[in-house]
């Protein structure tokens, strides 16, 4: 999971304009300074492009923290590789 968090951290830093932002799997989106629902959708679209994936809305609705997002990326990558 650590590698995937490293991969998505630049996306969060860009969107939240915070070059020093550090993320952990337990970091809740709602606890990030300035976070709103628009940021979540922006992150998802950036992640879709970065990892060549597509998220469904109910999946996005279930995301509450960084760990959720990373696990979903890994699950989709595994499914694509199978």
């Amino acid at each position: 999971m650590a590698a995937a968090i490293t991969d998505i951290t630049p996306i969060f830093r860009d969107i939240l304009h915070d070059p020093d932002l550090d993320l952990a799997s337990t970091t809740r989106f709602d606890d990030l300074a300035g976070w709103d629902s628009m940021d979540l959708i922006t992150v998802v679209v950036e992640v879709e492009c970065r990892f060549d994936l597509q998220f469904e809305l109910p999946e996005i609705d279930r995301l509450t923290n960084i760990g959720d997002l990373v696990r979903m990326i890994e699950a989709k990558q595994a499914l694509a590789a199978a």
Partner: protein, 469 residues
């Protein structure tokens, strides 16, 4: 059959609870079946001609859910189901001579369930559970719009379908507070609201403000009172409904207001309209190598496409959901405008106003919107807003006893709105303060007195304002 009428309070409710206690002893299936039967009787008592429509709607949606499970084309079935639900709702809400009671809420609750199952990998609920989810009488006529993710697991459980003292105590507390909000706080305001909106062109500055303020308070106490009663009824039989209000008139921005007013509708539209539209727009921009970051969102074109368009579309739908009239449409567009200014303010990182000024400014925006919301024509709204702007003159405040009593009453209601805890905070805080409810003998006596007061006041009670939607 409204919750605050004698037939419900003295006939239907005691019968339902008594029957639930007996059915619960025979098991889960009996208890659920009893509640479904009671819900159908409740609906038939209010709108007998539309009972077949309710049955068809629940049956049709359940058939679709069963069809979708395990299907590769579940998303298509869900889309088709949403279209049919909206078409039926549109017909009976806008084109039929007599609107179908509660259909907006039943349809949205079921649309939410279809979309929840659109992936095809979620097992459909059992028929009895789905019927109770879609047609349970406390939420049948005016919500809250139930989220399948929260409600279906509660309904599917097999234990706990017994009438318990704990559930009855807390549930009746919610119900009694809701009853008082409706009968003691909201209904008397109609004597200020009705005459004010009947002849708005004659209103000078202070009477116009009084009429608008009285209506905003009436709408809040009426609808939040209804919601407290619905939450209480569900609680009595062991089900937990979501909140629909979180002190909305204390909001410090219009964005926050919509997160705290009619929360179940806001959540539903954010999930089903705003989020999908925003997602589609961002993907479209990304596919064309257009930026989607915060800097792009702050440019006029980026702001319009990524933030403005989803908000305008969502608020127009909010307006049309309430009714296909010009005042409702203007209400939706006005709130879209407020939200856009609010988002632009955020996007530009403009400094926040002091809390009191933010609350006051937000409330004035909401108040102006509520004038459009209450008005039957644009002329009526313009007349009242003109009075509030002083265009019809500014007479000194009258000093007679009636005016003083009305002002005192409004002052007391604002004190409740801005200072009192929510019903949930008051009932469930667990605080040891004597002012907070707890299951004790003194509070049982107090709630008994409050219930008596509420029932006595219910004699002349009016229908809930949100039943028309």
């Amino acid at each position: 059959m409204g919750f605050s009428g004698f037939p419900f309070l003295l006939g239907f409710l005691p019968l339902v609870l008594g029957g639930f206690a007996l059915a619960g002893r025979r098991g889960e299936a009996w208890a659920k079946s009893w509640l479904i039967a009671a819900s159908l009787v409740f609906y038939a008592a209010g709108a007998p001609t539309f009972l077949p429509l309710l049955l068809l709607s629940v049956g049709g949606n359940f058939w679709l859910l069963r069809r979708m499970h395990g299907s590769d084309t579940a998303a298509r079935w869900a889309t088709g189901g949403v279209v049919v639900n909206l078409a039926v709702l549109g017909w009976f809400k806008y084109l039929n001579a007599e609107p179908a009671l509660g259909l907006s809420f039943v349809s949205f609750t079921q649309i939410g369930c279809l979309l929840h199952h659109a992936g095809g990998d979620t097992r459909a609920p059992r028929m009895r559970d789905y019927a109770l989810y879609a047609a349970f009488f406390p939420a049948l006529l005016a919500g809250p719009i139930l989220n399948p993710r929260d409600m279906l697991p509660q309904i599917a459980r097999t234990e706990g379908w017994r009438l318990s003292a704990d559930n009855l105590a807390v549930g009746s507390g919610f119900f009694i507070i809701g009853l008082l909000k409706k009968t003691i706080l909201a209904d008397p305001l109609s004597t200020l609201v009705g005459p004010g909106f009947a002849n708005p062109a004659a209103l000078t500055f202070f009477p116009a403000w009084q009429a608008a303020m009285a209506y905003s308070l009436q709408l809040y106490f009426d609808f939040s009172g209804y919601t407290d009663m619905a939450i209480g009824l569900a609680w009595m039989v062991g089900l937990r409904f979501p909140d629909n209000f979180e002190q909305p008139y204390r909001a410090q921005s219009v964005i926050a207001y919509w997160q705290r007013w009619h929360m179940s509708l806001t959540r539903f539209l954010m999930t089903t309209v705003h989020a999908p539209l925003t997602l589609a727009i961002l993907r479209w921009r990304k596919a064309r190598r257009l930026p989607i970051d915060a800097t792009a969102q702050a440019t006029p074109a980026g702001f319009f496409s990524m933030i403005g368009m989803p908000i305008v579309v969502t608020m127009v739908l909010v307006a049309l959901w309430h009714g296909a009239t010009l005042p409702f449409l203007l209400f939706g567009l006005l709130h879209a405008g407020f939200l856009l200014v609010n988002h632009a303010w955020r996007t530009k990182h403009a400094p926040a106003l002091p809390a009191v000024a933010s609350i006051a400014l937000t409330y004035i925006c909401v108040l102006v919107g509520s004038v459009l919301f209450r008005s039957e024509s644009v002329g009526q709204a313009v007349g009242l807003l003109g009075g509030m702007a002083g265009l019809h003159g500014i007479d000194p405040i009258r000093t007679d006893g009636r005016t003083a009593a009305a002002l005192l009453w409004l002052f007391a209601l604002y004190a409740i709105v801005w200072c009192a805890p929510t019903t949930r905070q008051w009932m469930l805080s667990g605080s040891t303060s004597r002012l907070v409810w707890r299951p004790s003998s003194p509070w049982a006596v107090a709630m008994g007195c409050a219930a008596t007061l509420g029932v006595l006041a219910a004699g002349g009670t009016s229908e809930f304002l949100y039943f028309r939607f």
